[in-house]
Symmetry: C2
Amino acid sequence: MGMITVKITLKRNGDFMKILKTIPKEDGFHMPGEYEPHEGCIIIWPERADSWQYGAVAARKAFVKVASAIAMSEKVTVCASEAQYDTAREMLPEHIRVVEMSSNDSWARDYMPTFVINSKGQRRGIDWGFNAWGGLEDGLYFPWDKDNKMARKFCDMMDTDIYDARDFILEGGSIHTDGEGTVLVTENCLLSRGRNPHMTKEEIENKLKSYLGADKVIWLKYGIYNDETNEHVDNICAYVKPGHVVLAWTDNEDDPQYAMSKSCLDILEGETDARGRKITVHKLPLPSPVYITEEERDGLLHMDMEPTRQENERLAASYVNFYISNGAVVMPGFGDENDEKAKKILEELFPDRQVIQIYARDILIGGGNIHCITQQIPKAVK
Amino acid sequence: MGMITVKITLKRNGDFMKILKTIPKEDGFHMPGEYEPHEGCIIIWPERADSWQYGAVAARKAFVKVASAIAMSEKVTVCASEAQYDTAREMLPEHIRVVEMSSNDSWARDYMPTFVINSKGQRRGIDWGFNAWGGLEDGLYFPWDKDNKMARKFCDMMDTDIYDARDFILEGGSIHTDGEGTVLVTENCLLSRGRNPHMTKEEIENKLKSYLGADKVIWLKYGIYNDETNEHVDNICAYVKPGHVVLAWTDNEDDPQYAMSKSCLDILEGETDARGRKITVHKLPLPSPVYITEEERDGLLHMDMEPTRQENERLAASYVNFYISNGAVVMPGFGDENDEKAKKILEELFPDRQVIQIYARDILIGGGNIHCITQQIPKAVK
């Protein structure tokens, strides 16, 4: 047969994922705010039994509640492994899409694409490097190869071009943006020795600006106490609209969290955003400290011959870890007396959205919360 | 937290897969001819080493050639398991989409959805039951559960409604249609005891008509000699346009294939189609008999303690096993003196398409050919 002489012109121009080596900002792309219109949301089905107690049974139910709440106002896609596909498909309502996609764990925020858009309404993904929150230095599990492939797999499935930023270790939960040029991060996470130790703070800042299409990075120092992600910003501070953030807060000065939150407050109140605005900080109370029970700990598989949680370990519970969907704010509850108070505050801050609170202890035990297990796909013409 | 009061209306109406219990014909849907416009094509990446010799290395190369030839004029999606994903992604050109989807083997024709359309240009899938060409009676492997889930998984991924026809065992390769009311099948396959032995021929015919939106089923008796699918029609006879078929043919009366092809010829020439037209039969010469070599057989893993091919087994080689894409006819070649002759005939029959011949011995060894490893998605508004 030999060579084929091609008389046909390729008709599929543009309708497939191209891997881009250019810079989003230079191409006119930026990451929009989470409160801007979404096409949908990505969630990964929980499975690994050293993350999710008792075979992830309770976690699955909590994930279904979160997915269902989001699906009330936007399209939700849940990625499940071959082994879990049937269970996911049966447990999720039919209007939620389920696709087969393998992962090492279930943190869509951290390794699904960060999406950027341009003024024409085009959309592209960013494929950051992922090393399980610190790689061999202080990462949380090994290996992480399946997680690290998901952004590209997802963009391939949706025929969306993707920026190759794999040389830079970043999780989606370690950044928040107002969509108008400002990015929030924490030093404890972004300057950790397990991520990009070869880069200076300035180089990291420039990387963020050029990939997120931003003009200013505000560096908080800390996140939530004992947060195993090296203190992701999305557990302590989130934009609710341009110029306005919520900050996880406790008035108890004996709690190690107090000094951490106070430091963030001082920085935020002393800063202006990319557009020169002062930032209004809305304190969102923390629940009373949450500790893992012996029964819960007993329900977790060991990893590398070790338990994955310490005895009586304090969990990084925070109401700030919510997801903003097109029609709702889906926030965690902990059965705490502050549940209602935090909900009321978000209701006031999001007058056009319904605030849906979901009991999320079974997500928290896995090491994150509702924002961590979701990733929005901004609306776009393509 | 208790019950959530929902104030938001579900916005995702229609934009997800619904499983339909109704009948396509009654809903106004029918299966179009393969020569009608396509949205694209589905292929499954070859993997199992008891089907594909020497770890499927040569098969993968042949699949890439087929996919690339089809992708010259329509979108191709290749489904690969997690284990094979990286290899598939690297070997396939970037304009071919790769999605993770597990299977037992690589016969998209037989267990990916049969798509039907209606006069409004809407598209739906059919999810037939699949039991590996005969189940526990005379099927070719066990288990077949992953194959049998693929049609539904694919429709879920593409947000396309699907008819539930799982109570009826049918492979896509066992039917051909002119898109105008006529369906071609073989008795040896559709009446085999491993498929729907509880149904009469009349019941099977009615099932086909009601699901394919057809008015007439033409029953050939035989397919290709030693075809392990119980003689699928797509290896012996295919529509090239309404009223015209190609029929695999040999003039050698000593070949057992002669009587089989002659029987088909007689039936076809004595029949009219659903619209009352006589059927013009174009003979497509067969290659000289193809036998598996000892070296090839040696490269296959055993299954259930047995070799999967007999010594010197005759393979069911046929030029009829081609795929019609939007711009081409992608046909097999065997390094046989009839390769060129068969190609010329198809070039005459398809004046508006380029005929691309691909050396396909490495696909044939797996048990099928180009038509067997592809499934078209007809063009539709949705």
